[in-house]
């Protein structure tokens, strides 16, 4: 396999790397970049734990090849400092205790970031739809939905 040079923005910083075609963006972020907020859950696009923002849109980083990130802008929860919306969501998640084990939280927060950046006044049903691809096995979702509702209000 031939290595490919890629260059992309990761949480505001330019990253240059050589990657093999069969490396997923998730593997690249976790093992090469030390970015650990995207989690390895199902590794097949069902659970949403590996969610990252790619050019402002949530994607499953387990289903994106690292080489496809060339020229893109990738944001993870580690880059939350630069995004007021993500920060606000994190605070509301904290206040509402919207996590237990925390495995799903980075993905949910990024899904909510995408929703609220497009639709700042999203209602309960829209919130539920937006996070329907993020599985949580601890909270029963109620505190998560409440936290996002709170963030949407203020």
């Amino acid at each position: 396999m031939k290595k490919h040079s890629i260059e992309f923005k990761l949480n505001g910083d330019i990253v240059k790397a050589e990657v093999l075609p069969n490396k997923s963006l998730l593997d690249f972020l976790r093992s090469d970049m030390g970015i650990k907020s995207p989690k390895v859950g199902c590794d097949r696009g069902d659970c949403g734990a590996c969610t990252v923002l790619m050019n402002g849109k949530t994607v499953r980083s387990c289903l994106v090849l690292a080489v496809e990130a060339d020229g893109c802008e990738i944001v993870t929860c580690e880059g939350a400092n630069a995004n007021k919306l993500t920060q606000k969501l994190q605070k509301k998640f904290h206040e509402k205790n919207a996590f237990q084990c925390g495995f799903c939280a980075p993905g949910v927060i990024l899904s909510a970031t995408e929703l609220l950046s497009e639709n700042p006044k999203a209602g309960r049903e829209e919130i539920k739809e937006a996070i329907s691809g993020n599985l949580c096995r601890c909270t029963g979702y109620e505190p998560i939905v409440e936290a996002i509702e709170e963030a949407a209000k203020k």
Partner: protein, 297 residues
């Protein structure tokens, strides 16, 4: 888990480059669009291509255009693109509705309509609407281009009419000329992210011609021509629906799988056919419901 499959990757800069690669490599080259199916298959070692051809760098590949009553979807138009398109919402209600039911936002942001029909699983959500709107699929190869009507596209489970040297270029759909109404109904185990246990797409025009397509109820998504023929010109009432159900039952061939049993599918297919027809008729006279804040009904 790392992906163990070994393959090369090429992000092409022109259609001619893509087509000459595809022509040289044939079925050992796979087209990479959203990757929401392909990367899963690679991970599980169910496919082992030598080369992935990435078309996402081509100009206009993600464009939705609507000219002279013809909607053209580029090969990289995602389900999120469909949902955001006012044209699709206005003229192709069933397609717009189906797009909303595909997996979840994070998948819809990458998954493409072209990829959906190239994967050609029996539960493909876009298949029913493309069948009732009689879409045409534009294929390119190094030497020629051809169009395939949607009804001839699905040749078997996960099999399509595309040749190994061809690439799907775009999908074209003519907007219905007269007034029509349509609906897409999907049955799944829970709200949110799931594949269809069964799906029905229905369309009604001003001459009371009905078009019906189904998914997850046979080896491929298909039109229910016999049921359509029976319904032609008829008013939808209890008696008609009950008779239509009996004909429809013979047109489908569901199996038992992880998502539901054959018996459940047979029963629900008739229930859903009735609901889809009633909904389509109601929409014809009362208009499409207000979609809340972007939600389905």
């Amino acid at each position: 888990m790392p992906i163990t499959a070994q393959f090369e990757y090429e992000k092409v800069k022109s259609w001619s480059e893509a087509l000459s690669l595809k022509s040289a490599k044939g079925s050992s080259a796979k087209i990479l669009a959203g990757g929401t199916d392909l990367v899963v298959l690679l991970r599980e070692n169910w496919v082992s291509p030598d080369l992935l051809i990435d078309l996402k760098g081509l100009e206009g590949i993600s464009d939705i255009s609507f000219k002279n009553g013809v909607l053209t979807l580029g090969a990289n138009v995602t389900f999120s693109d469909l949902i955001k398109s006012q044209t699709v919402k206005k003229h192709f209600t069933a397609l717009w509705e189906a797009a909303q039911t595909v997996a979840s936002v994070g998948v819809r942001n990458r998954a493409t309509v072209a990829g959906n029909i190239c994967s050609a699983v029996p539960c493909a959500d876009s298949a029913g609407p493309l069948l009732v709107y009689e879409a045409e699929i534009n294929l390119l190869s190094e030497k020629e281009s051809r169009k395939i009507p949607a009804e001839k596209w699905f040749t078997g489970p996960k099999k399509t009419a595309i040749e190994p040297n061809e690439i799907l270029h775009s999908i074209e759909i003519k907007a219905p000329v007269s007034k029509t109404s349509a609906a897409y109904l999907k049955l799944s185990r829970y709200e949110g992210e799931d594949l269809a246990q069964a799906s029905i797409t229905a369309l009604l025009d001003c001459d009371k011609n009905y078009k019906i397509a189904f998914g997850s109820l046979a080896p491929t998504p298909r039109r229910a021509y016999k049921t359509e023929e029976f319904l032609k010109g008829k008013k939808i009432d209890k008696e008609t629906l009950s008779q239509a159900g009996k004909i429809f039952e013979k047109e489908i061939a569901p199996i038992s799988d992880i998502r539901s049993s054959k018996e459940y599918r047979l029963h629900m297919a008739k229930v859903m056919l009735s609901r889809a027809l009633e909904k389509t008729v109601s929409r014809y006279y009362k208009g499409v419901p207000h979609y809340g804040e972007g939600m389905i009904e």
